[in-house]
Symmetry: C2
């Protein structure tokens, strides 16, 4: 099946998306093993939208930095729930395949284009990338690159960028978290959930309600105040403890949960939709075309917000960075977060490290909600045959694995950050 | 026409509203001139919902403080756009008439019920009241009463409470105003508009865009950065100066303006609906029954907020105080505001003082958008026959005046705070 058949949503592209694709396209070559004088690198390639069998590691031409870009020898990459949605084409205006997935990485500066003040070869950096992170080398504009704290490891940095920046901006810039407030976060064991819990602990007397699969409770119980099973009726559970609700609801689910979340807010409380993970089903139907019909039911009446003194917000870090040009604001946030890291008030939780070649197993783990904290692709790691027995089978199952994902009882409830 | 005929919305009352009415009812007596041993007071009475002719000043039994209540000898009362909507019955679940309007006043403590620590007879106080403010004496729970700064006059205090508390909470607790941000406020010459402008000036480098009738521009031009005529296309005007929009939109209009306001927001910007003044037309049709049909068109799709990184909020100070029990939070805000007042960073703008007997003329002035700053009912003031020539005619015109108000070209755009 050709990529264009899968990406039905891609036929009518916005100008922005065309720009993104052009940019990606410039770095892509269909003939990955090209002329001998071109340097090559290993990269994860998504050949088309679909199941795990669409992913493979291959060699392709190494990018060189353009003006204003920094070339990074990648050490570690973050794997987010969003990457599963990209794989399935379940995002708005998906780019063309083949592509190299990945939005964040850490590594060492290897070269710079012109006009890239502030960086030197050998710098240890953390970076956002608009795709292409899952490779040995990546180039990205200097606005998306940050010098890492000395004590921070590369896996920590790759676990840090999207999750902590998103958690910080939602809690402090959108919702205005202050002493004595309460927060509900879903998937408390995931990367964002753990970032939210840690950032809440930097403010006195903040109560954190979290949902997570029961088997994670023992591991994460110290990070939140109250933990509920992810299948429990969290509205009832929260109200048992706090009848008047909570001040902030962070919702990575979607559809039927907006009403629930708004209903749980105290007066002047803020509901933030920061992504949807109910949508990963293994089908390639666009998340947004599906979601929009759901949202018909869930549209919000401003007069109700007025009567009830409530706030509803949406948050998409990638849009903020790559479509809305708010790099300066994000840079300020990164600096504040590095300061908290240096004070040892926050520390990214790394669930596990995976070789590029193990990307299918890593994706299966996040799909199955097996992780506590962040999954990292460690570019220098060799595959570990021993631990991959089960998941290798899964990854080779191809379409069968997709059917498994399509089971409605297995709808995902893990967060993603876009 | 009986009040019950007018208040069509009142047939299905919520428990909360019934409570409010019961409370009001306890202080009302239809026989306003009752037995000789009951103390009497002057008060403005709204005999039924409708035009100015429904208002009169009469004597009625003086209330006595219940447990937890403070009895205040009223010196000055605030007149808000909301009071016009109450007069017309254009509020959700309107209470029964006859009633004494008014939600805020200042005066001197005359007596206290049991359990009213913190106040003494003779204290100069500012207070919120759930109706009944426009009288010589009012009783209200101590949670709604605040000792005034020594330098503050009674008219200033009556001009201060609703407008500054609402402006502060919207800017700093809902929207998180910070250095360098930009704010759009409609009716910049009104009580809330002037409070917003002054509070913005306490933060460095805040740009304030305001709309106001052109004849007010000379008087208020120093209080805001950019002023537009209220009939101008403010979206275009703002975008000429700031192509990427503003960080905060405060909207006292309604209906078609929500989309405009959201469209003007920069990423991470906040749109706040704090009331509607497009609805005062002289008809007694419920604001909310009318508004709800408008909002059908204007419901907000959360997925759009997510894609665009935007925030929408509703703010109703009266609901916060009288339905949602957030007196403690409001008290903290009042303390901060008094501190700013004592530092001479803010100062309520009083447009004009009116005797209780001049309430019709005062209402006509706010209806006609003649005011710059706040209209105050000065309880000890005698009517001024000289200046009342035109407006007395208007007030006596009764139904004719209502027709004037009903003219669709005369839709109101003044703020109210509920």
């Amino acid at each position: 099946m050709k990529p264009t058949d899968m990406a039905k949503e891609g036929t009518e592209l916005t100008e922005e998306t065309e720009h993104m694709i052009e940019k990606n396209g410039a770095k892509e070559t269909e003939n990955v093993l090209s002329a001998g004088d071109t340097k090559e690198m290993r990269a994860v390639i998504l050949s088309g939208f679909g199941g795990l069998n669409k992913l493979r590691v291959t060699k392709k031409a190494m990018p060189e930095p353009q003006e204003g870009e920094v070339k990074i020898r990648v050490k570690a990459c973050g794997l987010n729930f969003l990457d599963l949605m990209v794989r399935q084409g379940n995002i708005d205006n998906p780019p063309k395949t083949p592509l190299v997935p990945g939005f964040e990485c850490s590594g060492i500066v290897e070269a710079m284009g012109e006009n890239t003040k502030g960086f030197e070869i050998g710098d240890r950096v953390m970076a956002f990338v608009n795709y292409n992170a899952w490779a040995e080398v990546v180039c990205t504009p200097l606005d998306y690159v940050y010098n890492m704290p000395d004590d921070m490891t590369f896996p920590e940095a790759a676990a840090f960028s999207m999750n902590f920046v998103a958690a910080y901006m939602m809690l402090f810039e959108v919702a205005n978290l202050r002493e004595g407030m309460s927060v509900l976060v879903h998937s408390a064991g995931g990367g964002v959930g753990q970032a939210v819990a840690q950032l809440c602990s930097t403010i006195p007397s903040v109560t954190v309600f979290g949902t997570a699969s029961s088997f994670k409770h023992e591991a994460i119980k110290d990070s939140v105040t109250h933990l509920f099973d992810r299948n429990a009726d969290y509205v009832q559970e929260v109200k048992k403890i706090s009848p008047e609700g909570v001040d902030i609801v962070l919702d990575c689910l979607s559809g039927e949960n907006t009403g629930k979340g708004l209903g749980l807010l105290r007066p002047l409380g803020t509901y933030i939709l920061y992504g949807s993970s109910s949508m990963v089903t293994g089908e390639t139907k666009s998340f947004f075309s599906l979601a929009k019909s759901w949202w018909q039911v869930e549209k919000v009446n401003p007069i109700k917000l007025y009567e009830e003194n409530k706030v509803i917000a949406g948050f998409s870090l990638l849009n903020l960075l790559f479509k809305q040009g708010r790099c300066g604001q994000v840079k300020t946030v990164v600096e504040k977060l590095f300061s908290l890291y240096n004070q040892k008030k926050i520390k990214p939780v790394v669930d596990s490290l995976w070789a590029l070649e193990e990307v299918k197993e890593a994706m299966q783990r996040i799909h199955d909600r097996g992780n506590i904290g962040k999954l990292i692709l460690d570019v220098e790691k060799s595959p570990t045959p021993l631990m991959a027995s089960d998941s290798t089978e899964t990854s080779e199952a191809g379409e069968e694995e997709e059917e498994h994902e399509g089971d409605s009882d297995n709808k995902e409830r893990m967060p993603f950050i876009q």
